[in-house]
């Protein structure tokens, strides 16, 4: 426990020296403020200008669903970048042979950030949401969004061999988040082309207001995480 806590704080200290990583942390709040206040304002202006009753507001649910994934993705992205650097400098290999060990390292770099991201999401979503959710829905969405963040982090950490590649892979893996957009726009059954993505089911749960769709999201996340974790550990 001591080693996990210590290496988690080490990551925070390391982040402070890196403007880009440091800036990623308040991003969820900035995004939340934007979604909560700028978007309804924009909607009012646009609706007035085009003389239409609603332009963005049918997609408020989608914005909420995306917001659920922002915090975990940002936090997990930051720790993925830190662990890429640790893989580069071989400090990760060294940490594996200290009392921290592999499991401790994964807890400090993936587990703890994910838990914190989950808590932050559970707190921020009720504050910044544009549509109404039951508390169960908030918990399930935050949990699923967190798993999505873990998937992005593992994709980045497993597929890239340095920070530069990490940035590129991050952009690519963000695409997996946008699986959530499809059920809102593509009503045809072709939308199921994206059914292997957990985020697709989160979007589906949001667009059809059916929490049952969260089950495939959880199951798929588990499969993705197991697979990517194996891959990542083989690389280390």
């Amino acid at each position: 426990m001591r080693a996990i806590r210590s290496s988690f704080f080490q990551m925070l200290a390391y982040m402070r020296r890196d403007m880009m990583l440091f800036a990623a942390c308040p991003a969820p709040i900035l995004a939340g403020l934007f979604f909560r206040y700028a978007i309804p304002f924009l909607e009012a202006v646009l609706a007035d200008y085009f003389h239409m009753p609603a332009i963005i507001s049918p997609y408020y649910r989608l914005i909420d669903v995306l917001f659920v994934m922002i915090t975990p993705t940002m936090f997990c992205f930051v720790s993925a970048m830190v662990s890429l650097e640790e893989a580069d400098e071989k400090t990760a290999a060294y940490l594996f042979i200290t009392p921290l060990g592999r499991t401790g390292y994964l807890s400090a770099r993936l587990g703890l950030p994910a838990v914190i991201a989950f808590l932050v999401t559970v707190i921020l979503l009720p504050v910044f949401k544009l549509t109404t959710f039951s508390s169960i829905a908030i918990l399930l969405l935050a949990a699923c969004g967190t798993l999505q963040g873990v998937i992005v982090a593992l994709l980045v950490a497993a597929l890239s061999s340095n920070r530069l590649e990490g940035m590129a892979i991050t952009k690519l893996s963000m695409l997996t988040v946008f699986g959530a957009v499809i059920p809102f726009f593509v009503k045809d059954s072709i939308q199921y082309a994206l059914c292997p993505l957990p985020s697709f089911w989160i979007g589906k749960a949001g667009s059809e207001n059916t929490l049952l769709y969260m089950f495939p999201a959880f199951a798929l996340s588990a499969i993705w995480i197991c697979f990517l974790l194996k891959w990542y550990l083989r690389k280390m």
Partner: protein
């Protein structure tokens, strides 16, 4: 301290480390000597629990390596052949962080820095360190938690003679404190000087295992080589324990005709050549 029996390991399908058996007692400096690519670092990685997909048994400090727990690492210090430091942090910040991972009380950082002559560089970022400074820093990192077993992978490679001497003295000082040390090297002088016993490793196999002294003695006595002039230069040699049988040498000495005479003691390098049929480098 270490008990290895019938150990086999490979990264690929081809056999690599195959059917190794040996033991290392407590308080011993045990050397793995062999050319690069022989599998020394791989063997060490098995013993520190980094590679667990091995066959056979490797017990370290009473624990089978593939079943290692966090406790296992409280008593093992490792110095890899490459630097494993946070480059953006200073030496002290690095050492403080790595210290904080151990449950047990760790050694004072300033003292360790001073021991390797880095007392004035503790607040420099590791990225600004030279290669030699980094090796010294990585070495003291392995000592932080005062481990019972030290695994050092080529600790003196890339060091200048002064620093190399200093590090060897520190290794000997650790043994004097009763620590067990595993030393990987392809430098036979270091092996001969430091190790209580060495294992010659080639292509994943142990070809010989004994104290450097016994290995050298196994080759037999030193030889004496002498030269003289008689219609051009001639030279001949003779084992040092058979000099009185060499009539030619006796005659040359009697007539004061020798041009040069010198004895050459076999060294670990020669023994290595003899046993394995290849050089160390």
């Amino acid at each position: 301290m270490i008990q290895v029996s019938n150990l086999s390991f490979s990264y690929t399908r081809q056999p690599f480390i195959s059917d190794m058996s040996f033991f290392v007692s407590s308080g011993e400096i045990f050397g793995f000597l062999g050319p690069s690519g022989a599998g020394k670092s791989t063997l060490q990685k098995v013993l520190i629990g980094m590679l667990t997909a091995y066959q056979g048994s490797a017990m370290v400090n009473g624990i089978e390596c593939r079943h290692r727990t966090r406790r296992f690492y409280e008593d093992i210090g490792v110095d890899f052949e490459f630097s494993t430091m946070y480059e953006k942090l200073t030496a002290k910040e690095n050492l403080q962080f790595f210290s904080s991972l151990y449950e047990k009380k760790t050694r004072p950082i300033d003292e360790l820095l001073e021991m390797v002559g880095l007392e004035h560089d503790g607040d420099k970022r590791v990225a600004d360190y030279s290669k030699g400074m980094k090796s010294r820093l990585n070495f003291i990192k392995a000592l932080l938690h005062d481990p019972l077993l030290l695994c050092l992978d080529e600790p003196t490679s890339g060091l200048d003679p002064t620093n190399s001497r200093m590090m060897k003295n520190m290794i000997l000082a650790e043994r004097a404190k009763g620590k067990t040390i595993l030393l990987t090297t392809h430098n036979m002088q270091d092996a001969a000087e430091l190790c209580d016993r060495v294992a010659f490793i080639v292509n994943g196999k142990i070809c010989a295992l004994d104290s450097p002294h016994n290995l050298i003695m196994s080759k037999g006595a030193a030889t004496v080589t002498y030269t003289w002039i008689d219609n051009g230069e001639h030279s001949a040699s003779c084992p040092i324990d058979r000099l009185s049988d060499d009539e030619q040498l006796k005659r040359l000495i009697a007539n004061n005709c020798l041009q040069s005479i010198h004895s050459s003691e076999p060294n670990l390098n020669d023994i290595f050549m003899d046993i394995t049929g290849r050089t160390l480098l």
